[in-house]
Symmetry: none
Subunit: 151 residues, 2 copies
């Protein structure tokens, strides 16, 4: 625990212990710990991932920032990961619907949410060759599964 990454990680987590979310300036933190700015990205990419239960947003340009929030890890994460594996990169409309029903049953989605998503995954919404369509549908479903984790 003497490398900068661990020190910065500890520093941020200590703040997150009190505040629910923090907003930092990359340059400031880099200066405080006397390292290059991209070091901060390394810390975030390795210590504040979605798997570890963090949600990170940022903005560039004048008045830019990096915002980190702790999210609650649910048991259902396992199910979501498993579904993610099942989906892979190919998904039919019917299969998509089945997954959505399952998500409703698990109370991970409301009926309204499922309807909205289903409408985006139907073939009319994906104007492209059938094969591409299924790849695209799978890709979108993967996004949904990941997004649910931070809802």
């Amino acid at each position: 625990m003497q490398n900068i990454t661990d020190i910065i990680e500890a520093y941020l987590k200590q703040i997150l212990h009190d505040e629910k979310k923090i907003e930092i300036k990359r340059q400031e933190i880099a200066e405080r710990f006397d390292c290059v700015p991209s070091q901060i990205n390394y810390v975030i990419n390795t210590r504040f991932t979605i798997e570890k239960g963090y949600f990170v947003e940022s903005k560039r340009g004048g008045g830019g920032y990096i915002r980190i929030q702790k999210i609650v890890i649910l048991d259902s994460h396992d199910l979501l990961d498993e579904m993610s594996r099942w989906v892979g990169n190919d998904l039919t409309e019917q299969a998509a619907e089945d997954y959505l029903v399952r998500l409703i049953n698990e109370q991970l989605l409301t009926r309204r949410e499922a309807i909205l998503i289903q409408s985006l995954l139907q073939k009319e919404s994906l104007p492209m060759a059938l094969e591409d369509q299924r790849r695209m549908r799978a890709h979108l479903m993967q996004t949904v599964l990941q997004t649910i984790k931070r809802l």
Copy 2:
């Protein structure tokens, strides 16, 4: 939130919270916040767009002004149709987000629903050339707008 743009935005919105419409003099506002006049145009072009639900008029010359109004559409069905027209067949990620925020404010979507949709409209979810991406995003948003009507 220490860049001038955000500060001026907050100032104008705070007034718009009480008054239904405001009329400003570009030069005056620029002086009050000690910035160049064209900064005001930047604020308006990025923070008071049609996507965000604002209508802006202006006049040059003596007695010139910039007038900003919040667009109010009482019937949500009409709002959805209006938005549909605004979206057309080309939509940037930023504009999409602005529309979704508007839909939340109009209570036509929940925050969760908007987050799910937004995740599907972001560029990472649409792996294709930039132009196709914007067309696809517009197409999906159209689906969303139509689907909301039957929720």
